[in-house]
């Protein structure tokens, strides 16, 4: 049985329950149609116009409708079965309509005399219509008399309960505001202390103030982390309900953000890296061991960030070199961008210079060794090219090549 609770416009709520209902129990033997508002043979379309109305009425009357969707027990033969649709009160039964349903049983409660109505067979018809109608009119009178006061009483109670709830909420909010204010004060004093590097003074040792201090420190650290993330450092968030963290390391070069790499680290039971998207030629595990990730996570993350930024920088330099200097041929490079062999063309001498750049320090963007090879020995020994040597050691390669082109050393 499904209680269709779509709001029905059946008239004003304080109307007597039964007046608008055409509880016309004249049902014919043949067609078995009850003339009911909204009554429809088809199950799906049947609406219970009174269900919400009755609910309201019942609240007013401080009666609790015990709505039970129960299944009737007495078996019935096949074919159509008329079911009655009841709201059962403690003392009253209100017939609200007839509907085709398979089974219905309303627990009559104390009202045994109304069991008659629960029969599905034609017995229902045999009970005197007069009896039913008189009972229904009795109910109507009762409801009318109880209408006004009970309505107010229960409404008043409802509002009082709401007031209590709102008061409690207000108290909670006030407590929160107070905590927040204390926190702000502590935070500002903490920040000042950090700036002046004074010692922390323990004013009160009460639990509350210690907790507040911790909370203030927590918010300070969170803000620090956020600021770190904004300037292009790494960012940490908690995962797996606090059992792990995910670190995202951003890389940038010359003010341009490049790839972001992520690391998922388990904190319990042991501190170890569970997965990451760092390319295999960056020695993540090696760095973790070197910096003792278990003890000093920050050193490990700083070293890793340095390596990644340097790698991104070298990669970006290579990309810019290829874009800006198409006349320079890249003879060799590798995935780690730790070695670069370029071929320069010298304009007047019509010779080629082979330049090897070694980036053996993988945490830096600049080469550790620059070497020129040329057929003309004098060229590589000349002052000009010694200057170029130092230029390539100290400036990023794409900028160095631009400078060398401007000076006319290479084409």
């Amino acid at each position: 049985m499904s209680w269709n609770e779509e709001a029905q416009n059946v008239g004003a709520p304080d109307e007597p329950v039964l007046s608008t209902v055409s509880v016309d129990l004249r049902w014919d033997a043949d067609d078995r149609h009850g003339r009911l508002e909204g009554g429809d043979e088809r199950q799906g379309n049947w609406k219970a116009p009174h269900a919400p109305v009755c609910h309201q009425e019942l609240l007013c009357g401080s009666l609790t409708p015990s709505r039970q969707s129960v299944v009737e027990s007495d078996g019935h033969g096949g074919g159509q079965q008329d079911g009655k649709y009841h709201i059962v009160y403690n003392r009253e039964v209100l017939l609200v309509g007839r509907v085709h349903r398979d089974r219905l049983l309303a627990a009559a409660g104390e009202d045994c005399s109304l069991d008659n109505y629960l029969d599905k067979t034609n017995n229902a018809k045999t009970t005197t219509s007069a009896g039913v109608l008189s009972l229904l009119s009795l109910l109507e009178v009762q409801a009318r008399s109880r209408r006004t006061q009970p309505q107010q009483q229960s409404r008043v109670k409802e509002l009082k309960a709401k007031i209590e709830a709102l008061k409690v909420q207000k108290q909670q909010l006030e407590a929160e505001i107070e905590t927040h204010q204390n926190l702000q004060k502590l935070r500002s004093s903490l920040d000042k202390q950090c700036a002046d590097e004074e010692d922390v003074e323990m004013e009160e040792v009460s639990e509350n103030s210690q907790l507040l201090r911790l909370m203030a420190r927590h918010t300070q650290l969170k803000d620090l982390l956020h600021a770190h993330h904004l300037i292009g450092g790494y960012d940490v968030i908690k995962t797996r309900q606090g059992k792990g963290v995910c670190v995202s390391l951003a890389t940038a070069y010359e003010g341009v953000y490049l790839d972001t790499y992520n690391l998922e680290i388990d904190l319990k039971p042991t501190v170890k890296i569970s997965r990451h998207n760092i390319p295999p030629f960056i020695p993540v595990n090696g760095l973790a061991e070197e910096n003792d990730m278990q003890v000093n996570m920050r050193a490990f993350l700083d070293a890793l960030s340095q390596h990644l930024n340097a790698f991104a920088g070298r990669k970006q330099q290579l990309k810019l070199l290829k874009e800006q200097h198409k006349s320079v041929e890249v003879m060799e490079s590798n995935v780690l961008c730790s070695i670069l062999v370029l071929m320069f063309k010298v304009p007047r001498a019509k010779t080629a210079v082979l330049c090897t750049l070694d980036y053996t320090d993988h945490s830096r963007c600049l080469p550790t060794r620059v070497h020129f090879e040329c057929e003309d020995k004098q060229l590589s020994d000349s002052d000009q090219w010694k200057k170029n040597h130092s230029l390539l050691m100290e400036t990023p390669v794409h900028k160095a090549l631009t400078a060398m082109k401007n000076m006319g050393d290479i084409v």
């Binding site: 998922e264 295999p280 590798n334 995935v335 780690l336 730790s338 070695i339 053996t360």
Partner: protein
Amino acid sequence: MDDSARRLLQRIMRRIPAQMLKPTLDKWGRLTAAQRQSMDFTESKWALTEKLLAICEENEMTVKHITELEMIHVIENPDHCMWYALQLMDPEEDVHSVELTQFKEQFKSHLRELIRHVSIKIKKHTDEAVWIRIAWGDSFSRPNHLKPTYVVHHLQTPYVFVTSLTSKLKPLLSQALVLSTRYQAIKDASLSGRKLTAIRDLLMRQYQQVFPTKYPSPLAENDQNASNILINKEQAELAASRHQKACEAFGDGMLPQLQSAVYKLETKFRDHTNKTMTEREEAFRCVVKFASTNLLESLRHCASSGIASTPGTSLLSSIPLKGRNYFVITDNSPGPSSQTRQPSN
């Protein structure tokens, strides 16, 4: 041009599909312009093969030149044979300074020390991959070019991909690789598949991985033609969280096209309703194989559409996490354990 060269050329011509013939020959670059003109690519393959044989005779090409053609074809289309992944272990100090010429020389010299008659060809592809073609002979016979082994390695990474390698020759290749790349050991990575790009992308993590972030991306535009807007409203958040979890486990966007995953179970039979089987002492051996045109994509779809509950089982999400598709599960270890697997020919 001797007989073996002729047979090799015929075999290569059979393998190259008709529409790839012209570009491959152009890339090979061993035919003169006139010879290229004389090849009429609308003829049947058999006729073209004959023509090409004649041209090669004319140019006095040897097996060496013809293997170049084969290598070009294989580099372009590596998906016709089974590739197996190997992993190099325990790097030495100078592993990062290995550069191409050094690697080439070392590899050739080491392999030639181990086996006398062997033909090695090394070529560096544009994407920094080093391709090696090895034709094996033994002490008595010349290298057999009809069954070459191809090896792909990216310098500075510990991964090597091989195809068509018999178990007899595997130790020789392993030793040469280990010595020339400055590592100390090599092991089987338990990953195999037909598509080289797929297994390479999986191992080197070249697909889009998803991590938990503070700022998840906004929901995609709702499909306005959806059947029921109310259902969408209710389900949108759930669907988004399922999708996020599925992407965290398997990845986002285009996933590497793995075709199969094999789980070899060596666990005890457990089923309360079947006493006879449960009472047996020894492990119940069975092999479970998942096969699909794109296995990771279908697993991700299972998780994101709600067919499988998230977070998914770690057995399935281990495939992208550990980069393997062969697992042996025993009772002692809670998760999938590693096991060596011999790549069969």
